[in-house]
Structures are given as C-alpha cells and as structure tokens.
Subunit: 132 residues, 3 copies
C-alpha cells in the first residue's frame, strides 16, 4: 500500500510539516500495528523528524545547514543546486515510524518535516504502511 | 511487537552503547528472520551505528559534531538546545538492522549507539521487530 | 531473504553506484510490492541516495564532507580513519526503498550509492526484501 502525497514548496529552502498528512494515511489504512515508511523521491530535498512546537527550531536547522553547506560554494555541479544535493545526503530521504493502536508512535515534540533545499517547486512524497 | 527501553544519560552529550539491550529483545522475540527497527522519540537525541571497539571513535564523532554545530551559536530557539536539535537532524532518529538465524546482522565492529545531545536526562527508545 | 553483495573500492573516498545490483536482486526476489532495505555492515562507509545523472554531484558531496570532516584533524582514534567514522555517522548506513509492480520506486534522478570513506578495500552490502 503506497500513497503519493504532493506538496508545493514556496521558498528555496524550507521545512514543511507533513505530520497530519501522514497521520491521515495511517488512519485510512486501518493498520493497527506495524510501521509507516516515508520516502522522498528527490535528490535536492529530504526528511527530518524534529520539534514542531517552536518554529525557531526548523529555522535554526536550516540556517546551520546553510552555514555548513552554503548555496554559493566552489562546487562542480552547474545547476545552482549542488548545496541542495549535499544537504539531502546529510538529512536523508527516508524515515520509518512505528504504528501502535492505529497511531504513529511519535514523541511528544516530534513532527515529520519535508525538507526543501532547492525550491520553490512541486514535490512528491511516498508513504508505505506495513502491518496488520 | 514494540518494546520500550528506558535509559538514563549522565552528560550533556554522550553516546551510549545499546547493542546488548536490542539483542536481548531480538532473542526474546524468537524472530529468526526479518528486521529490527529502532526509533528514538526525542528531538534532541539520535541514533548511530558505529565502531564500539575503540571508545575514542565515539568521542571523535561527538567532538566533530560539536565543532560543526557548537552548543553556543547564534540560534533563535531559546532553550539552550538548538544545537542538539540540529545534531539530531544530522545523525537521524531511526535505524533498521536485519535479523538472520535469530541474530542481528551487524558488522564485526558495529555497535548501536543512543546519541544524547541534550542531557543528562531520562530517555526512551522504541524497538520494533518484524519477521518470522 | 537477505543477499550479500561484495564490491571492491579503488580510492580512499568514493561513491559507487549500486542501483543496478540492487535492482537485479529485487527482480530475482519476484516480490511485486513491499520494501527493499539496504544495510552496510561497516563503520567507515555508508549509503546515500542521490543524483546519478551528473557525476559532479557525487564529487561535490565528497568534497564538502571532506571540508567539514577533514582526513587530518585533531582526532583521538589512531588508525587514520577517524574522519571516515564521522562521515559514516553523517550519511548513515541504512536505506529503505519501496517496491511497486516489481520495481524500486526511486525518483527520476535517484541512484543508490555506496559511500567509501576509508578505502580502497573489499566491502559488503546486505539487501533485505520484504513483501509479496
């Protein structure tokens, strides 16, 4: 059971909270116990699970990644998105979350974020649920 | 089958080897073949699979992460743990390890480490085993 | 169903595209729908899913990781591979990719790369497929 979610990003770099979209699919699947896997089929974007209470956290992560891997650097790749590829390699493009009693077992402060590093544009996210 | 392990960390930043705790649960599960997934439900901690023979390796990883993402930086988040959130995004909070013949298929030098970036405190780790 | 792939790396640091090797195993498995998990049982290597069209992308990733975590640094670990352990912790050693209609659901530009950070040498990669 694989679902495709589409989102539109609005900045070159931003984190978009997709927790409720994933939760909707978990409910729809009627799976009570198992695992939910999320996969981003892009090479200049990624996924992170992090705090969704204070929005300053996502800005701090984005800013620090920008300092470590600046948009303008001495890169060979010529499409103005080498830094985005590198950031994608650092945060990764897949996450697994458990399902118990029909709910994702996230921690109190955890949300699931799509990480845009080369927007704005249309993006896809695949979700796969296994269990019973 | 989800198990919760609780651990107590003793420093602001440290790596704690949880390999034997996970192995105990794999044995208890009686699963012979499948996958063991580990998930940390915290936003200022993470997981890494790395060398558990020479303890200097974990210190080198911690020290380099601290240099790349210093505790004191120009962060917006005000709880003195912005760096911990960023380190969590870099190492990640979920890992999958295969099970064969009832044992985790880790490499010779691999151990599973809980990464504390904002301790000391009480922490939880979820383990999920799928297979037969 | 776990398969071991062996590869020989030729440089201290390089990314090797293993997409077709993984795809061969997916076909061989006859699994039509499920998930393919890849695991590197080494502590100085890793995995990344990134662009496989322009080879400059992998060089940009390697070069930036080298700048962030230089081979020569003030490390405690004495085997001349502390930086390799740290890079492994950053990119990670496991990836999950979905399978639909008997094919891996990778994005248009995505390839699966083995990341050598302490070569050249012989390396193993484990692949596990679950589904039906």
């Amino acid at each position: 059971m694989i679902k495709k979610i589409s989102i539109t990003t609005r900045s070159r770099a931003e984190f978009i909270d997709i927790t409720s979209k994933v939760q909707d699919f978990v409910k729809e699947s009627k799976i009570r116990s198992g695992a939910c896997q999320i996969f981003v089929p892009h090479t200049t974007a990624g996924l992170t699970i992090n705090e969704n209470a204070d929005p300053s956290v996502k800005h701090d992560i984005l800013n620090r990644l920008e300092r470590l891997v600046p948009f303008d650097g001495d890169y060979s790749h010529t499409e103005d998105n080498a830094a985005a590829h590198i950031k994608s390699a650092i945060v990764g493009t897949d996450k697994t979350i458990f399902i118990e009693d029909g709910e994702m077992k996230l921690g109190t402060w955890q949300g699931i974020f799509f990480c845009e590093f080369d927007g704005p544009r249309q993006r896809n996210i695949f979700i796969h649920i296994a269990g019973k």
